[in-house]
Symmetry: C2
Subunit: 680 residues, 2 copies
């Protein structure tokens, strides 16, 4: 009888003996079991719900009697009556140990819950937010022992929650005194728990018990769009996702034209900084409205972006990023105050910007690395974030390499004669008939192929307006597969190709996809110049990947992850026919969606991931394509479709590409000489 009862927690398996009458929450804390509590055991918050298990547990060698826990007390009864409690649940702070017992901590009672990601191959996110809620009893002021209200609040956080050296912005000092008195010296405090660089910090104070949550934003600041996820920092749930156009577009479609704008205009960088911050304000208002929350409760925000956007967002002139040696002002992760950036969220909110990998490989690429974790991969993975500029990662748990490659905006439909952004009316899928060599296609917003009955009626609203990025890739690949374009990239004549859709167009030939002129729409064609643009874009992408493979000392990769919105819509077979990506089994080429945005969300929900990605980025080997002579060589070879020298054995086992050559001595088919450095 003198032995204290045994308490065993599941799923952690932690166990210990505690005197009869010990609250379960106390036992959990002493054992380091992850059991949540905001009110600190006062029976207010119900975050510490646990499920006792009764009966015989041979695994634990313990018998749990029906009276192993104390009877329901008034606090628990009242809580159950007012707020409800699931069958079998008890409040961990009220139920006390009376005999040996097995206690299950359900996921929602764990602070560090797992936030499940939808993709099968993705690791779950361990919830570990920067900012949490703590309910405290603050000592009242005493004229015999004068001290500031803040100092007594800090004492309360230290003695009641072991949070030491907590700081507070001026904002807190300016609002704290009436709140303490309104709550009769009981308050709920949102505390940012700090990191290696920063002490814990009081973010907000509510009188009494605050029965709400805290919010965070994960923002992917792209050249074209700014997209954000609004997350609940207590559950990890995404409450709303929203996006706006980056208002900087008025200064230039792609990044280099924005860098040029800042070079040509004395206050150009400032204007663009203002524009992007205004866009941010619009977005944050919009997303808060969508979720029906107060933007003032957003206490944390994580940003990912490419280096130029990074600098413009921070108010740094991107001048140096426009020329070798592409020197970043800073490459480290940034920890700032929202007010430093003029953001319309909580005035004390903190901002975290992921580190940049190099002058062309930004915080967005770091976020992709965090999301796709090549550094934790057993097999060799190539991760390509396909945007206007491609960021490429290659590695496994031994080593990760990174580079960027200037694909230009062709993959987004820009610089293509009939190109357009992905929007209703845009051609997104293409097939060329092997016999007639005539095209059929699908447009965004319509499920029918263009040769199906009723297609014209279905698309009457939008018309057929152009070809988007994934459409142009399929188009060119189909043209190559069906002998309309040769390996060097020349469109043959109608005669050479046997296609009535080919027509002479100046010194080269073009391919008619759709003639909408009868309905007042455009005539959609693929010109040889369009082919050249795609050749250059895909050659840039491939040669970046190939360069990393050289550096890694391999000729093939185990799998390929396509990140970016574009990657989600691309046909892997067609991409491989084009020679955009290295030869690989088609089922080993997967799409990660907006991996940069996901990386931002991971860094938002788990502060541990911030230190982790900072370490990863330090260890990534950066490869600068601009100064690697082999990049040029790879680029020239990769200008051919699919490639002038690489064998692509897996691709060849799936499709047989015709051996046609249309060169009549005019065009060389080598687009390498026109290579530009473009950024986006």
């Amino acid at each position: 009888m003198s032995v204290d009862p045994l308490v065993i927690f599941t799923p952690s398996g932690k166990r210990g003996r505690f005197p009869r009458g010990t609250p379960i929450l106390t036992a959990a804390r002493q054992l380091g079991v992850d059991l949540d509590s905001v009110c600190g055991g006062r029976g207010i918050c119900s975050k510490c719900q646990i499920t006792p298990s009764y009966g015989s547990f041979s695994k634990h060698n313990v018998d749990v009697k029906p009276d192993a826990l104390s009877e329901w007390n008034k606090v628990e009864e009242r809580y159950k009556e007012k707020r409800g409690l699931k069958e079998g649940r008890r409040l961990g702070c009220q139920a006390t140990v009376q005999g040996d017992v097995v206690i299950d901590v359900p996921p929602e009672s764990q602070v560090h819950k797992q936030v499940v990601r939808k993709r099968a191959e993705a690791r779950d996110i361990v919830l570990n937010p920067s900012t949490r809620l703590f309910y405290v009893d603050v000592a009242e002021p005493d004229m015999h022992d004068p001290s500031g209200d803040l100092e007594r609040l800090r004492d309360a956080l230290r003695t009641q929650w072991d949070i030491d050296n907590v700081a507070a912005d001026l904002h807190i000092l300016q609002t704290m005194q009436p709140i303490l008195r309104k709550g009769d010296w009981k308050v709920t405090v949102a505390v940012n728990l700090g990191d290696a660089e920063n002490p814990p910090r009081i973010m907000h104070i509510w009188p009494g018990y605050y029965d709400g949550t805290l919010y965070g934003l994960a923002v992917d600041l792209g050249s074209t769009t700014i997209a954000a996820h609004l997350c609940d920092l207590q559950t990890g749930a995404v409450l709303a996702s929203s996006g706006v156009m980056n208002p900087q577009i008025r200064f230039g479609e792609d990044l280099m034209s924005r860098v040029s704008y800042s070079m040509m205009n004395a206050s150009g960088a400032d204007e663009m900084t203002r524009a992007v911050r205004e866009g941010m304000t619009t977005l944050f208002d919009q997303i808060a409205a969508e979720a029906g929350i107060d933007a003032g409760l957003i206490v944390d925000a994580v940003f990912v972006c490419n280096p130029v956007m990074h600098h413009l967002f921070l108010g740094i002139d991107p001048f140096e990023l426009g020329q070798a040696p592409f020197a970043l002002a800073t490459s480290n992760a940034m920890r700032l105050r929202a007010t430093d950036l003029g953001l319309n969220i909580h005035p004390a909110a903190r901002v975290y910007i992921l580190p940049c990998i190099a002058g062309h490989v930004g915080a967005d690429a770091a976020a992709v690395a965090l999301s796709e974790a090549p550094d934790k991969s057993e097999d060799l993975v190539l991760v390509v974030d396909v945007g206007t500029n491609a960021e490429i990662l290659l590695g496994n748990k031994d080593k990760v390499l990174a580079c960027s490659s200037p694909t230009g905006p062709a993959f987004e439909g820009a610089q293509i004669s009939s190109g357009q952004r992905a929007a209703p009316g845009a051609i997104e899928r293409v097939e060329i008939d092997p016999e007639t060599k005539m095209p059929r296609f699908k447009v965004i917003g319509c499920d029918l192929w263009s040769d199906a009955p009723g297609f014209e009626e279905e698309i009457a609203g939008t018309g057929v307006t152009g070809i988007c990025g994934s459409g142009i890739i399929e188009m060119v690949a189909e043209m190559r597969m069906h002998g309309i374009v040769d390996a060097p990239g020349l469109i043959g004549t109608a005669e050479q190709t046997g296609s009535a859709a080919v027509f002479a167009d100046g010194r080269t030939n073009s391919y008619l996809v759709y003639d909408g002129t009868a309905n007042g729409g455009p005539r959609i064609t693929v010109t040889n110049r369009d082919i050249r643009e795609i050749q250059m874009a895909k050659a840039a992408l491939y040669s970046g990947a190939r360069l990393l493979m050289d550096k890694f000392g391999v000729d093939k990769v185990d799998r390929i992850v396509l990140a970016g919105a574009f990657g989600a819509h691309i046909s892997t077979k067609h991409a491989m026919v084009l020679g955009m990506i290295p030869d690989a089994p088609l089922d080993k080429v997967t799409s990660a969606g907006n991996a940069a945005g996901t990386g931002a969300r991971i860094a938002l929900l788990n502060v541990g991931a911030r230190a982790e990605i900072e370490q990863t980025v330090r260890e990534i080997h950066k490869v600068e394509t601009a100064i690697e002579p082999r990049f040029q060589e790879h680029f020239v070879n990769a200008s051919a479709i699919p490639n002038a020298v690489e064998p692509f054995p897996i691709l060849n086992s799936i499709v047989t590409l015709p051996d046609a050559t249309f060169n009549t001595g005019g065009e060389t088919g080598d687009a390498g000489g026109r290579r530009r450095r473009r950024r986006a």
Copy 2:
């Protein structure tokens, strides 16, 4: 011959053997000798000047030969030619050890120089500023090993100056890149070296070697005036001192009326915060213009103020300070950014506000404690900062007590019928003729007594406009000494007093000091109500001091220090006749001038003093007069002139006060019942 030469540094006495060819600067650094250098030994800054001594030094047991140091090299020659070098001086970074040598480090070559204070009893200030200059060579960006410019700058500070983990505000990132390039990767960096709470921080960057200095402000933010010293952080010199009226005066003369204004007006506190910050802007522009410097080079500012000003300056509603228990929002020292307070100095400038001692005893009192250091005193010292509110410190190296006492503004000439601020035309000295009982006086701006020939001509410009604080103290003390006022504080009749200057004035009597009506000036009198005001003010002051003596367990103090501008002009004999201060030898009553301002200057020039005063303040025993029953008792006793119960033996050995009593049953002479709590 195999023994390395001996290098002995004076005045430190540090010594060590170094290989021939070791620069003196290197030897000094290795021994931890305080020898300044901004350029790090490149022969640019000349901060490391030293004076070698030659000959035989029996004290050190060393002979210094004429060739103990290397010959002048080109760098030294060129420096001497261009900039000049005092006779006997060498540059420590260029001159190398060739034989045993004695090296004197002159004060101006020491980083931690002594800054001498004028007062004999004051300890010198050891210069140890927050922010110093460092010249560095920064690695150029390298595409093979990409990193941010900031990261390479940080590396340079770490490897060249042992400054690790240096942070930078966004402002630095926004301006740094062109500066690095303009300086061809050689820059001078102002680094705030940080403290227990904060990492080192880059404050400013100049291309190449910056041949200037850095500035700091020590600001005494008073209820009536805001005064500042502008200091050179490299020499400790005060370059300019300036003051402006506190614009908050339009919301109320004294602090309680400002607290009331904030209570009565929803945005009252905000208005007052804006006003005081505007005053600050005016002052800083003014002082920078006066010294002919760029206010943008002011990188550090220290503020001292009373608790109400403290809160209003920080934008905290002083509501709680207007009522028991007088709870401060925060009592700790504050470390802020100048931009948080809207100050027009360097955008990265840091602000330090001294800790408050209690709800009535502010950062100004802490500054007085830092300046007068009662905690380091061997004898028992009473320090009184006489303002509208008196802060009182009593202690020695064993223990220090503090309280504040609500003297009200009478000592500043307010609430006195003919009172005025100290300004030309104000009566500041008074003597009453023992025979005629008629007054004579001196006014500010004129050296003649009022009964001297030519007085009227001398003062024709200003006239005689009123009585200032020190004047009214002498006036009342003289009236008591010459039997015009009795101990309880009643003015006798002309008959009782034998003075033709006394005249009946309603139910009481008044005393005519000067009649300027013939020249259109005022008729200056002392009414019995004026006597009452002075009685209450001085009783508050005395009873605060007496209460601390009770708590300390003593009946007398060894010495008294009067701080505050008012303290500088007061006649100690008259103050003791009034019973303002405890009985003490007159030569043991000294004036410290603006000790609060001096304390601010100490904290500005020596960051070590900040940690020191924070520790001192934690250890000070705070006494709240409002809840001490004995305070009331002391107050009632101290209403008599000099005191109803205290013997004042030293005073009695100097002056004999008449034993008159003018009470005819009307006034009681006890002002205690009308005691108010006033603040300033």
